[in-house]
């Protein structure tokens, strides 16, 4: 049977849990690289966070945003915010703080493009618009969110699952932030939102996987090793995980690659990258970080499956371990 077929039938037989050392090493290296870059190189924060310079110029020639964007790109100015004022009668260009030389050059370029005199152009400093208040509030919200999710997962699943899920989440966030430091892409408010999105998605993905684990654990016999249960659950949901990741990554990847590389929409690139890396990391971590961590953590526990009474009736395929001999299927009733 082909791999795809087995994947689609949940009959793959990967040992996710047994090789946890390898996965953890990979993750540890990725995290170290990320932390190293963020620590030493920092992040390329946009004008929304740092402020910069705002250039206001009349626009006699009717220059378009696209033309001005070319100028800022040529001057090597990243993350400029360009707006037309009063239906194109004037332009407003906001840039991060620039070297005096680059700034002078850019202003000359803008003057030439808009057909204005150097004297008609006003230059002012501009402060951060995504201010400390918003950042502080978002951080508070983040902490409360994590606590609430931990409580919810502890109640709905169990607390070790909550712990493993949050660990996977932190893993995803660190790697995503690291990628920003490495690529030196600009961090904008949209990027922050993208990070928050990853937060939700990473947990969502982990919950789907853990839900399966807890279902199998409930049904498993008292002798079965928890690691085996996790492995079985992982193999069963692997097809789903890959499909889901593909269906989330396709639109985002399309914006990242088609939108920004083919059409050159650089302002979309910044946030599409965060989403893409974060989503990919989430898929990886729910399989290779959260699940093995859970298995390792629960190894010493007394039998898990027998703790809860079995409430489920009816046959579910959860009892079918792809890795062991399959019981003979019931003859399908529907077929005549």
């Amino acid at each position: 049977m082909s791999f795809l077929k087995r994947l689609s039938r949940g009959e793959t037989n990967f040992d996710f849990v047994g090789r946890w050392r390898l996965w953890f090493q990979i993750s540890a290296i990725l995290i170290l690289i990320s932390l190293g870059f963020v620590g030493f190189r920092g992040l390329n924060l946009g004008i929304e966070f740092r402020g910069g310079t705002t250039i206001n110029s009349p626009n006699a020639t009717g220059a378009t945003i696209e033309q001005l964007r070319l100028l800022t790109d040529e001057a090597g100015v990243q993350g400029a915010v360009i707006q037309l004022v009063n239906d194109g009668q004037a332009v407003r260009v906001q840039t991060p703080a620039l070297d005096p030389e680059v700034e002078r050059e850019l202003i000359d370029d803008v003057a030439a493009a808009t057909g204005s005199d150097r004297g008609e152009i006003s230059i002012d400093s501009i402060g951060p618009s995504f201010g400390a208040l918003i950042l502080r509030q978002s951080l508070v919200a983040l902490v409360v969110f994590l606590v609430a999710v931990a409580l919810f997962m502890s109640w709905r699943l169990e607390w070790k699952m909550a712990g493993s899920g949050l660990a996977a989440l932190v893993h995803d966030l660190i790697i995503t932030v690291g990628v920003y430091s490495i690529t030196w892409f600009e961090v904008t408010p949209a990027t922050v939102i993208a990070l928050l999105t990853i937060l939700g998605y990473s947990l969502y993905d982990t919950v789907v996987v853990f839900d399966k684990v807890s279902e199998l654990a409930d049904e498993a016999g008292p002798k079965e090793d928890y690691g085996d249960i996790v492995n079985r659950a992982m193999n069963l949901v692997l097809g789903r995980s890959l499909n889901t990741s593909l269906s989330s990554l396709l639109p985002v990847g399309s914006i990242l690659f088609v939108g920004s590389l083919v059409f050159g929409a650089s302002s979309l690139r910044d946030f599409a990258l965060a989403l893409f890396v974060g989503l990919a990391a989430s898929t990886y971590s729910s399989i290779f970080v959260a699940a093995p961590l859970l298995a390792a953590w629960k190894k010493g526990d007394p039998r898990v499956g027998s703790r809860r009474p079995k409430v489920r009736t009816g046959r579910t395929s959860g009892t079918l371990a792809p890795s062991r001999p399959r019981p003979a299927p019931r003859p399908p009733k529907g077929r005549r």
């Binding site: 009063n86 509030q137 998605y201």
Partner: protein, 509 residues
Amino acid sequence: MRRRLIGLALVLLIAWGGLAALINQGILPKLGLDLQGGTSVVLTAPPGTDQDVLAQAVEIMRRRIEDVGGVAEPDIAISGGNTVLVQLPGVEDEERALDAIGQTGQLSFRPVLAATPGNEGPLVTTTTTSTTAAGVTTTTAESTTTTAATTTTAAATTTTTLPPNVDPETGLTLVDDPAATTAYLPGTITSVIGEIPAVLTVGPAQLVGSDVADAVPGFNPSNAQWVINLDLTSEGADKFAEMTAAAATQSQGSPQRQIAIVLDGEVIASPAVAADVGAEGITGGRALITFGAATTDEQAAKDTAAILRYGSLPVAFERSQVQKVSATLGSDSLRAGLIAGYIGLALVAILLLAYYRMMGVVAIVGITVFGALLISTFALLSRLQGLTLTLAGVTGVIIALGIAADSYIVYFERIKEEIRAGRNVRSAVDEAFRHAFRTILTADAVSILGAGLLWLLSVGPVKGFALSLGLATLIDIIVARSFTRRAIYLLARTPLGEKGWLSIRRTAQ
């Protein structure tokens, strides 16, 4: 079976028909500053204003617009030496939003010393009393005894010239300073024919904005009026009790029983202390500002509460340079993003079809139902709550589409498992839904929980994102329950359930 079919048709009708009706009515989601542009306003503080003071003002403005503008995300930044650049998306009530941002919001509770019916101040109406009253302004500002007695003693000073801060035409105070001994402000007094306009002579403020801990707009059902409930700090509560106690000693119907509530030099209310208030005044630290019963009063109560809640701006700003600005994302970026988004969605559709065949068709129709409901919700919220869709909001939607697709994938995978375990297709789809829905609920609950908390706790762009993510997840659950379940139930009972390459059974094998 029939019931399910009708139910399914109804869901499709509501989702698609509802969206078509909204589009027909011209109700569409409004786009944010980054996608559609808006209005840019420069607020100028007095020259030489400290940068820290400006920063403080900007924080207050951000909080206020949060309360007034709903989720319309403005962009507020200090620009240059003493100006604040405010950019608002094309919101319905721009003027209202700008008022809420730029109004100084200096609140003061002042005792009413006298009232002159009509529109002119006491200094204009009668020349003889004008000396008396004018005398007050010539007494030293430090004088804290503000009883009527001071007014008469001060009358000894014979000055016929008007004090500098009073308009000679109307006899009204030009620039109000709450600490000033007296001010002449237009207001109303209660008479036998109801509220009539009058110029109130008010004493220095005894209670100011900083004595207010919180301001909450509300509706007072007993007299059907819009009000603001003020929660006073403990210090403010003492001052308020003292102030009302003093007013309560005045006879019923006397203007001096009134207390003027002044906001930026304008008397917004001047209620009289009720007859049953005793010598201890009104205690408990709560004060009520009544606006009226009209819709405009409702708006005024809400806006004023937002202004009062976060305190006054540390400096007064002047509004200048109102301009229209274009989207910050160029139209090329937007178009590229849309094209890329469509390509991405088409790929997802192909993936679903290839993998789930006939069930994939159900998933694609389901995603259009999801999309229609989501756009309708955004459109309605744009109209009702001033919601604007920014790039961040669109991000939330893209992720939500992924989550919506996942609900189908979780369900379909489960169906396949059930069929492989030996169930027939019909019982497999029901059994699978029970399990899959439980998983979807758990996973979606995490998203909703997160979105809800972000919505409650954060400000600005983060809030818009939280709203769109939360709504989308909620709609996902609704669609799974009302559309997906019925559609698959019906599909399992058609020939496409069991037979043929496209069937559910073949998909599972």
